[in-house]
Amino acid sequence: MAKLPAPQDLLASRPPFQGEHWLDIKPDFVPGGFCYPAKKETMELLHMPNPHEWDPAADDWGLPENWEQTICDAFAERLEKHRSLKLFMDICVRCGACADKCHFFLGTNDPKNMPVLRAELLRSLYRRDHTMLGKLLGKTIGARGWDKNVVKELFCYAYQCTECRRCSLFCPYGIDTAEITMIVRELLHEVGLGTHWIMDPVKNCSFTGNHLGIQPHSFVEIVEMLADDCETVTGIRPKTPFNQKNAEILFITPSGDVFADPGIYTFMGYLMLFHELDLDYTFSTYASEGGNFGSFTSFNMAKKLNAKMYAEAERLNAKWILGGECGHMWRVINQYMDTYNGPAPANMILPVSPITGTTFTNASSTKMVHIAEFTADLIHHNKLNFDPGRNDHIITTFHDSCNPARGLGLLDEPRYVLNAVCNNFVEMPENTIREQTFCCGAGSGLNTEEIMELRMRAGMPRGNALRYVQQKFGVNHMACVCAIDRATLPPLANYWAPGVTVSGLHELVANALVMKGEQKRTMDLRQEDLPGVEEDESAAQEGEGE
């Protein structure tokens, strides 16, 4: 009988260096590390190819008979369609500049989470079929063929990438792993491999207009419930216009903000702001989802979901669209929408702020303006009365969401707004914000609860920076401009920096907003008591006197 081993022997050490070449290491699927598969019915309903039941933890994924041919053909087709793919397959010099830039790598220490190696998984397949040297020399120069384990590996790592583009910023050739991940996911969908938390919202957004599949009447009633909450806090019940024709502005925001805490407070912020401005706007129940889960599936699916925005703007005869705070929604709007479904309908005009008269020339073709741009402009023209003292109980920092930061360049507008509505704003360390921002660890369809562990380790660099400012400056709040962040950062903050709350930008705006004829505010939008209400009041009077 063997004796119980000493602790150091229990910690089975890693294999020696290059015990196995990375091409030979098989992915392992342990609970907490993989997303649940999409349901067969969902895939069928969406006319996705090869729908079938499968289980990531099982040996056999039930791939269709001709899976290899299907994937190879799909890959060849994508190469013909995307110059980016061809180029990124060819020109990587493996300099390693991206290696330690990925939050997944920093959190997992899995070498295949280095962006270069994640792309190399696909590149090795590209070499075999599409390069001369690869055909001649095969494995010596890192080429390999397809087998079922390769498919598993691609699945494993394509769903450990949040398409945040941080690596692309540091790459000397601008190689964008997000682009590669998107295409790998497309390939996987060709053989019927999708995840539940992406495909289910896709189905719901497609057929009901929001990611949970809530029917229009319930959606309207929930929004009205939120308007009632605004009344409780301010004494003013904001209007909730729905599907109104000929309104000047169509407002579209992610539906998550209507259903999920703490996103709803941001949504209430929008309602209050628009009411105060007496804005001529409307919501739509048909195009009520700004977020685009299709963009985590395939370019075509993204196009399909996105098409509703212009279609609805045309039907309602809106002049332009105002978009709420959301990350990937804005990546799609800024970089894809006009290409997918443009040009904008003829009834739409160059967006002009009805309050300040500012023309948003930067949106002259898409005719869609980001709410942070809209609000920053209002503040710049002194159109809003604020009592920032109401936010004095928070010391806030700002999390740049990946897509607005690296796919749109929206960095200073939210800061401009934040500085106007808060007295205590602290930045996180330089190399974790702005264009170098770290992802929340759960973007691009990974914000599902079954992979909570994976999300906590992937979000570790962000959590770590947050914890640092929490300890150093007493930060107790983090603002962001992304609906997925509002869903994923609370658990992340709760794990890495307990005590830090998360909210959208416009929740803080509405907290500080002094509305005409409002009652004395004794609580914030979350209906929590405001500390030091007395002092607040005198400060507010001074503010109005100016």
Partner: protein
């Protein structure tokens, strides 16, 4: 790694031995012609191959503030929205390796990390830049063999390069620095575990090849000195398509030429094609103006989506229930 080193040594040795036993014209004339042809045709084909695929979407990586409101300062070059901005961004990228330069590192100083300092971790940037520029200078210096009369700028370069005035023939700094930079880049791959893991034969081979080229070149200049006059006549013969007899030139010269030819042959089929590829990179060479100017996708598929009419048909009754405006009222729709 050793495989690629052996390969380079083998190429060099074959060329050296071959030219010593009388195949000098093969290595000195036929091979360079072939290599140059393959290089040019190969690179053109490769670029055509890239260019053949469209850029369906406008996907620049924004590295700073976009152009939006007039009181918000735009990062004109990191997030350009004009052609000039893009040009400057590409210029910075190509000539100064802007993206590699971004590598900053933070360090906490003081008690309990009360202060934060940022310093740059720029070894890779530095050596990559040094390598590429020295390579360029060495390449330009070689024009003294290709042209008659020797252009003025080549002479200037040589004077500058040898400004230290060490040794005779004068030591050219670029050669030494080039070798040092190459060894650094090679050393990174060998001693950094992370990099060693991702490195392939295709990464070591060009490095060793370049080391081979530089070493043979240095030897030709300082040790196994080639008859410069004869070499020049020989090379001018090649450039004028009337090759002269290679007799009397040291075999090492042919080893040098063969290694360069190998590089040219290898170039278009490998990662070295990044030289041309960088110009095509859509995350860098596009302006972030996709909300202002519509980008066209040539294979844009037809629109297919769940239309409002279908939507209203599905939910008409419940929509009427909460008083949402409808295109067709429930009783009329039933008719």
């Amino acid at each position: 790694m050793f495989l690629s080193l052996l390969l380079v040594l083998l190429i060099g040795a074959v060329a050296w031995a071959g030219s010593a036993v009388g195949f000098a014209s093969l290595f000195g004339v036929a091979l360079p012609y072939l290599a140059l042809a393959v290089f040019i045709v190969g690179m053109v084909c490769r670029m055509a191959y890239w260019a053949k695929s469209p850029v369906p979407f406008c996907i620049p990586t924004t590295g700073g503030q976009e152009q939006s409101l007039d009181f918000i300062k735009q990062a004109k070059f990191d997030c350009p929205n004009t052609r000039i901005g893009v040009f400057v961004r590409m210029f910075l990228e190509i000539f100064l390796f802007r993206s590699l330069f971004r590598n900053t590192q933070a360090d906490l100083v003081g008690n309990n990390g009360t202060g934060t300092v940022y310093y740059s971790s720029k070894w890779l940037w530095c050596f990559a830049l040094v390598f590429h520029y020295c390579f360029l200078l060495v390449f330009l210096r070689h024009f003294r063999f290709f042209t008659e009369p020797v252009p003025f700028w080549t002479t200037c370069l040589e004077t500058l390069d040898g400004v230290m005035q060490i040794g005779a023939p004068r030591f050219f700094m670029t050669g030494g620095i080039l070798l040092a930079a190459l060894l650094f880049l090679l050393g990174r791959r060998v001693f950094n575990e992370q990099l060693r893991y991702i490195s392939l034969v295709n990464d070591y081979f060009p490095l060793w090849l370049l080391v081979g080229i530089v070493c043979t070149g240095v030897c030709l200049r300082y040790f196994d000195k080639a008859e410069i006059a004869m070499v020049k006549i020989f090379i001018m013969g090649i450039t004028h398509f009337s090759p002269v007899s290679p007799d009397g030139i040291t075999p090492l010269f042919f080893a040098h030429v063969t290694l360069v030819s190998a590089l040219l042959l290898y170039f278009p089929f490998s990662k070295l094609a990044h030289m041309g590829g960088i110009f095509f990179s859509p995350t860098r060479n596009m302006a972030n103006n996709s909300r202002r100017v519509r980008h066209i996708n040539p294979w844009n598929p037809p629109k297919q989506y769940f239309t409002y009419a279908e939507y209203e048909d599905t939910y008409r009754d419940v929509m009427a229930e909460v008083g949402l405006p409808l295109e067709k009222e429930p009783d009329r729709a039933a008719e």
